[in-house]
């Protein structure tokens, strides 16, 4: 493919929009995996669960998918607390959280997928908002609202979480538990309670990401599988516990994928994007925004 400035600009812009979706999917994992060291491999499946409930509730209430995603987030927060309680009781408390904890979340993922098939069937589900088929054009740049609105929504959610983590006492406690859980006990704070709360927040974020996903594409029970590798890669590339790093890595991932697809074909996209991950880790093993040990 010959070089064309318009193609390059559109590749970068569409990559940024795609990165917005990736950021939505990876932000919850930045909390659970990055801050709490819980390898929640079921996170994309929980995002898809959020997408299905958005479709059902949104169709029933006649509301925009993103509004429904916000409204249902407290339910997912409670659901997340339930999952963490089980994980803590059976694995973390016994010190079995590494391999057996991973197996636990694998199990959760499979149960969710089969559960979604049983509950909703295997067919694709969708809920198109009114702007789903509108594309803004600024010069030669195309901005499909199907991608733009979920991207902005994701940035707003992550921004809100960032403020909460840096300005509230509980948010600071979550940041502290990521650094040294035992030190928290010395300050009369129960680290398990803080971790429970943080995990609940991560699952609430999965619900919001589900809303963003429904706007971008129809969903089916196995839709989450496509995102597993990407969200973990973004989380690691961003620096694990860093939300700005998560956003930067997600945008970088999206841009690299789409520019590669434009000029070299989509077959190369994943290889080049994951190649960038290796490159970043070679020069900054702690990730883009991570702190060196």
């Amino acid at each position: 493919m010959e070089f064309d400035l318009s193609l390059l600009l559109n590749g970068i812009v569409s990559g940024l929009l795609l990165g917005g979706l990736y950021a939505a999917a990876a932000s919850g994992l930045a909390v659970s995996f990055g801050m709490l060291d819980i390898v929640n491999i079921a996170h994309p499946a929980l995002m898809v669960t959020g997408a299905f409930t958005v479709v059902v509730l949104g169709t029933w209430l006649g509301l925009d998918p993103l509004v429904v995603a916000v409204l249902q987030a407290p339910l997912f927060y409670v659901f997340g607390i339930g999952i963490y309680n089980a994980y803590h009781h059976f694995f973390e408390k016994r010190g079995d959280e590494a391999l057996q904890g991973l197996a636990f979340f694998f199990g959760v993922m499979f149960i969710i997928e089969v559960g979604l098939v049983m509950a909703f069937g295997p067919e694709q589900r969708f809920l198109d908002p009114s702007y789903a088929y509108t594309t803004w054009r600024i010069g030669e740049i195309d901005l499909p609202l199907r991608m733009l609105v979920p991207g902005l929504f994701a940035m707003a959610c992550i921004g809100g979480l960032f403020v909460y983590l840096h300005r509230s006492f509980t948010g600071l406690a979550i940041a502290a538990v990521a650094q040294d859980a035992e030190a928290l006990r010395l300050m009369a704070i129960d680290p398990v309670r803080i971790k429970r709360l943080a995990f609940g927040i991560s699952i609430a974020l999965a619900s919001m990401a589900g809303g963003a996903l429904v706007v971008v594409q129809p969903v089916e029970p196995s839709s989450g599988q496509v995102f597993i590798g990407r969200v973990f890669a973004i989380c690691i590339m961003g620096g694990m516990a860093s939300l700005p790093g998560c956003i930067m890595a997600a945008l970088l991932f999206g841009v690299v994928e789409n520019v590669t697809a434009t000029f070299f074909g989509p077959s190369w996209s994943p290889a080049v994007a994951f190649g960038w991950l290796l490159l970043v880790l070679a020069f900054r093993p702690q990730g883009l925004f991570g702190k060196a040990a």
Binding site: M1, D4, L7, V117, P122, E123, Q124, G265, S267, S269
Partner: protein, 424 residues
């Protein structure tokens, strides 16, 4: 970490057994049925990526079993389906067929849905020398060369020279004559064979290939790919894609206002009700491969009655509500087994295979004959065009006129409209 003891292992085994039985609902009806049934075993994708088509196929096969049993069964014995969920995982399939043949001791086996699930079953089935009627495989027997394999698929023996023929034949009738083509295919066996056919036939007709790429199944955003195709300015756009991607490709094409003399090819997805409901007018003028349409030229005896029954159960089974794609073929697959057993008069795998090689089968999708390799003796790839679609209302797909057949000539029910990408 604690070691797994013998007692733990026993608990795990029990849990596995319970979990397995839970997804193999076909075992339970076995207990309720009369004595000495003819048992037909298969695996089917009831969860995972192919579950949409797998569940639709199963619903059709269950309707067939119910129809046959209502008429007194086969050879005077009731028919019983024994099936397990392969979870769209080819790795599960050999184990399932081993269990069906060695433990469940079924009398006959049929296949799971499509190439990726059929191929892993072949070695097990061949080892037991079972007659094997498959559904929607693509060239599986090219490798195995098994003389008891029969495939219910319209593609026939020579996919390379025939699959894209209809698309390019229709393109040849357009004015001005198309001179260039873009080809995009997902990285899987079926799509790559479809793309190979388009590439081969385009070169044969001096149509210049200006874009020829594959994409991985994990692709999320098709905007850059479609933009690159747009930049190549092809007259024809030939896509070979699978369901989740087909949606993204068509939406990206719509957002970028892509126009071409013809757009479509071998996309899997637009045949399904969920796509038709969501994409509505975006489908207008799409020319795509298909296997069935409710046009008068395909109103074969029994198909309307079957579709009426299917649509009654589809909503309850949470599967494709229209049934215009796989279900008639799944029913016909079982009709082939039924007619062969009736003619042979006993369960004899060699005799059944000989019968299938030599006889014509009257099915709800028309008469079927098999070639020496077990594919259809005469290919019947349909090229249909969506016409006059104004919204996502599915009722129109129950009547002729929405999915007009352009190819083959003997089933043609309308004339092509061009270009793709203009308002209906």
């Amino acid at each position: 970490m604690r070691n797994i003891g013998r007692r733990d292992f026993g608990r795990l085994a029990l849990a596995s057994a319970v979990a397995g039985a839970g997804v193999s609902a076909g075992v339970f009806p076995a207990l309720a049925q009369g004595a000495n049934p003819i048992r037909i075993g298969f695996s089917m994708s009831l969860s995972g990526g192919l579950a949409g088509n797998g569940r639709a196929a199963l619903a059709a096969q269950q309707i067939w079993a119910s129809d046959v049993n209502a008429k007194g069964g086969l050879l005077g014995r009731p028919v019983q389906l024994v099936f397990y969920d392969d979870q769209t995982n080819g790795g599960q399939v050999p184990g399932i067929y081993t269990k069906l043949l060695d433990v469940d001791k079924v009398d006959l086996v049929t296949s799971p849905y499509a190439t990726a699930m059929i191929a892993p079953a072949m070695p097990v089935v061949m080892q037991r020398q079972m007659c094997f009627v498959t559904i929607l495989g693509a060239g599986v027997n090219t490798t195995f060369k098994y003389d008891r394999h029969f495939n219910m698929n319209v593609v026939g023996d020579n996919m390379k020279e025939t699959f894209a023929k209809g698309f390019l034949d229709i393109a040849g009738t357009l004015e001005p004559k198309p001179r260039s083509i873009a080809i995009l295919a997902v990285d899987n066996d079926f799509a790559q064979r479809a793309a190979e056919s388009a590439r081969f036939l385009a070169r044969q007709r001096n149509i210049r290939v200006v874009y020829d790429r594959s994409y991985p199944p994990s692709t999320v955003d098709f905007t850059p790919t479609m933009r690159a195709i747009q930049a190549a300015r092809p007259d024809l756009i030939y896509i070979a894609s699978y369901p989740p991607d087909s949606n993204g490709i068509l939406r990206a094409a719509s957002e970028l206002r892509i126009s071409a003399q013809m757009f479509g090819g071998g996309m899997v997805g637009p045949q399904l009700a969920a796509f038709q409901a969501q994409l509505g007018p975006i489908l207008n003028n799409l020319v795509n491969w298909d296997i069935f349409s409710v046009e008068p030229t395909m109103n074969f005896p029994g198909v309307t009655e079957f579709l009426t029954k299917y649509r009654e159960v589809a909503a309850k089974e949470q599967t494709d509500v229209l049934g215009n794609y796989i279900p008639p073929y799944a029913y016909a697959q079982m009709q082939v087994v039924e007619q062969a057993v009736k003619r042979v008069g006993k369960i004899d795998q060699a005799a059944l295979a000989a019968d299938m090689h030599s006889q014509v089968f009257d099915t709800i999708i028309g008469p079927v004959t098999f070639s020496a390799s077990g594919e259809w003796a005469h290919e019947r790839n349909l090229l249909v065009q969506f016409q006059g679609i104004t919204d996502g209302d599915l009722e129109r797909y129950k009547r002729p006129g929405a999915k007009v057949i352009l190819y083959p000539p003997n089933l043609k029910s309308g004339t092509p409209r061009a270009p793709y990408g203009t308002p209906a």
